[in-house]
Symmetry: C2
Subunit: 361 residues, 2 copies
C-alpha cells in the first residue's frame, strides 16, 4: 500500500528514511549477527548508538556543557511528577503557566508532590486559546521554577517567544515541538519531551537539564527518580529503552542531513501557513479557535460550521489516504498534526482538499 498521509497527534509520522534504515538493520546490526534489540546496553555496539544520539542532540539544539542530556522512560506524564520531586524543596513553591490541557495535567500532578501556584489568570482551556503576555504573568520571584508547555497539542496554541522568569529556572514541556525550530537552550533550566512526535518512537523521554539543578536536586526521593542518578551514569543506570534510542538516533541523523533546525523550521512554517491560509480564506466555513499570535505550527486545529460537517470532512479525508485528522475527543473539531516528518505534499493535499470540500458543501 502507498504510504498513508499521517496527521496523527502522536505517536506520529517518522521519517521514512529512518524507518527504512531500522528495517534493513533489524536482524543484523552492523554485521554483528544480532539485532540492536538483542545487544547489551553495556556493549560497544549499543553504547556507540546511545552516544551518537546524545551528540546529535547536542549539535542540533546547540546544547552546551552546562546541561545534561538524558534518555529516560515514562513520557512527559512521568516528568510531571519527577520535576517537582527533584526541584521543589520543602518550603518552596513552583509557578505554572497553564495554557491548555497538558499544562493542566502538569500542575495537577505537581500538586501531589508539593506547593504550586498558577502564574496566569483565567481558564486555560477557554476559547480562543492563547498564551499570556509577559505583562499578564503573576510570577513569584522566589519560585523554585516556572513551568510552561511550549506547544499544546489539543488546544493548538504555541509559545513563539518565551517569557522572562528572572532567577527562577524556566522548565518547559516541549513534547510536541522540540526539534521543530531553533531554541536557545541556555535560557531553560529543564526541557523535557516524550519522543513520539518529533524525536522518535514512544517509550523514551528526552530530558535536557542544567547541571546545577541536578546537583542541588532533592535526595530524599527514590534513587530511580533522581536526575542525578541518571546523569551520573549517562542514562545507563538501568537498562534504557535501547531500540527506542536507536530509532531516535536514526531520526536525528536524517534531520541533520536535511539541514538541521533552520531548514526544518522553514519547512514547518510553510506547512503551517498553507493550512492557516486555507482556514483564513474561508472564514465563513473554517474557524481556528486560537488567537493569531499563538497559533501552533505543529497542531493546526479548526472547526467547521457543524459537528456533522466535521464528521463528513474526516470521512472524506480518510478516503484520500489521510489519517488522524479527527480532533481530540475532549474538544472535537479537526486537528492536523504536522510534525517534522509530515511531508509538505501531504499538507498541500490537505489544503487543496479544504478548498474543494468548502466548494462542494
Amino acid at each position: 500500500m502507498a504510504r498513508a498521509m499521517n496527521f496523527n497527534a502522536g505517536p506520529a509520522a517518522l521519517p521514512l528514511e529512518a524507518l527504512e534504515r531500522a528495517q534493513r538493520e533489524l536482524i543484523d546490526f552492523a554485521g554483528t549477527g544480532m539485532s540492536i534489540i538483542e545487544h547489551s546496553h553495556r556493549g560497544k555496539a549499543y553504547e556507540a548508538v546511545h552516544n551518537e544520539a546524545i551528540t546529535l542532540l547536542r549539535e542540533l539544539l546547540d546544547i552546551k556543557d552546562t546541561h545534561h542530556v538524558l534518555f529516560l522512560q515514562g513520557g512527559a506524564s512521568q516528568q510531571f511528577a519527577m520535576i517537582p520531586m527533584n526541584l521543589l524543596k520543602p518550603g518552596q513553591s513552583a509557578d505554572y503557566i497553564v495554557t491548555g490541557a497538558w499544562g493542566k495535567k502538569a500542575i495537577q500532578e505537581a500538586k501531589t508532590v508539593g506547593t504550586v501556584r498558577s502564574a496566569s489568570a483565567g481558564d486555560p482551556e477557554a476559547k480562543p486559546a492563547r498564551v499570556p503576555k509577559q505583562s499578564e504573568l503573576d510570577l513569584d520571584a522566589n519560585a523554585a521554577y516556572v513551568h510552561l508547555t511550549s506547544n499544546e497539542t489539543i488546544g493548538g496554541s504555541q509559545w513563539h517567544e518565551f517569557p522572562s522568569t528572572g532567577k527562577a529556572p524556566l522548565v518547559a514541556d516541549m513534547s510536541s515541538d522540540i526539534l521543530s525550530r531553533p531554541i536557545d537552550v541556555s535560557k531553560f533550566g529543564l526541557i523535557y519531551a516524550g519522543a513520539q512526535k518529533n524525536i522518535g518512537p514512544s517509550g523514551v523521554t528526552l530530558v535536557i537539564v542544567r547541571k546545577d539543578l541536578v546537583e542541588t536536586g532533592r535526595t530524599d526521593i527514590p534513587k530511580i527518580f533522581r536526575y542525578a542518578t541518571h546523569a551520573a551514569e549517562n542514562s545507563l543506570y538501568n537498562t534504557p529503552a535501547t531500540f527506542a534510542v536507536y530509532l531516535v538516533r536514526n531520526v536525528l541523523d536524517v534531520l541533520k542531513k536535511n539541514g538541521g533546525l533552520a531548514a526544518i523550521d522553514k519547512q514547518n512554517r510553510a506547512k503551517a501557513k498553507a493550512l492557516y491560509d486555507a482556514i483564513d480564506a474561508r472564514p465563513d466555513f473554517y474557524r481556528c479557535p486560537v488567537e493569531q499570535g499563538a497559533r501552533s505550527l505543529m497542531n493546526v486545529v479548526f472547526n467547521l460550521p457543524t459537528p456533522e460537517l466535521e464528521a463528513e470532512f474526516v470521512t472524506a479525508t480518510q478516503k484520500l489516504g489521510m489519517v488522524g485528522l479527527k480532533g481530540h475527543r475532549s474538544v472535537g473539531g479537526i486537528r492536523a498534526s504536522i510534525y517534522n516528518a509530515v511531508l509538505p505534499e501531504w499538507v498541500g493535499a490537505l489544503a487543496q482538499f479544504m478548498n474543494d470540500f468548502h466548494k462542494g458543501s
Copy 2:
C-alpha cells in the same frame, strides 16, 4: 553474517521469527501504509496488538480475572520504588528476602520509601549462592508484603519452589525467569518483570497485580505512579511504549505456537542440564558458585581455576561466534544466560567447547 550465539544477560536474544515478523511489517503494518510505530496508541490497529499481547500473557501464564496485567515503563528498577509507594502504608513494614544483587537493590530502594526489614539472615552475596529454606525465614506476620527475586541474574541462583507467606502478599521480581516455566500466578500478590530477557525488548515492564491490592493502594502518591491509574485505563493512561508492546506480542505468539510454557520449560531444563553437566564433569576445572538446589536455569555462572583462564575462555568463545559469556563486572567469572530464545544448539556448542577447552588447557 551468520546469527551470533547470543548468551547476553539482557537485553538478550529474541526469537528470530518474532524479529523477522517485525522486520517485514516495519514500514507498512497490516496494509495501513504506516509503521506500527507511527500508529496512534488510541487507534484500532495498535489497540488490537496491545490487547492481543495481554490476552496471550493471560493464556500462557493462566492469569485469572483476579489479577490485572499492566504494561508500564521504567524497568524493574522503577518497580523497586513503585511497589512500596503503592503497597506500603504508614505504620506498616515490608519483608524482603534478599538472595543476591538484585534483591539488594530492591530493598535499598524500598528503604527510600518506607519501613522494610530483611527476612533472611546472612550476606545474600556470599558464596555459594543459595535461596533460604522456609524454616530459615523470619517472616513478619503483619508485613504489607514479602518481596523476593525469583532469579538472580548475577549470582546465578533461582527459587525452584516459592515460600509460604501467610496472609502477606508475595511480590516477586521475575525479570529474568518469567515465561521460562509454568508458575501459579494465583499465589502472588504482584509479579513484575522488565521485558528484556524472556518477553521482548527493553523499555516495557510487565506488572501482574492482584486487583484488591490495586484498589487498596496508596492514593497520596503522584497519579502516574499509582497502579490504579494504569489499571483503570488498560495501560493507556499515557502513551505506552507501543513498538515494545508490539514486539512483546510477536514473542508471545511464537512462544504459544511452540507449545507454551510446558514445552519451553522442558527445553530450558535440558539446556541448563547440558551446561551444569559440563561443569560437574570437570570439578577440578569448572566450579559453579551456587548451591545445587538453587542453581538457575536461566543464568549458568561458573569459574575456571584463574581469572586468566576465564579471560582466555571468553576470547575463545568469541572467535566461535558466541557473545556475552563474560560474567558480570561485579563478580567476574563466566555467565551463560540461556533464556527462552537461546537455541539448544548454541548451548550444545558451548557445552562442547567447555569440554574441548578443558582438554586443551
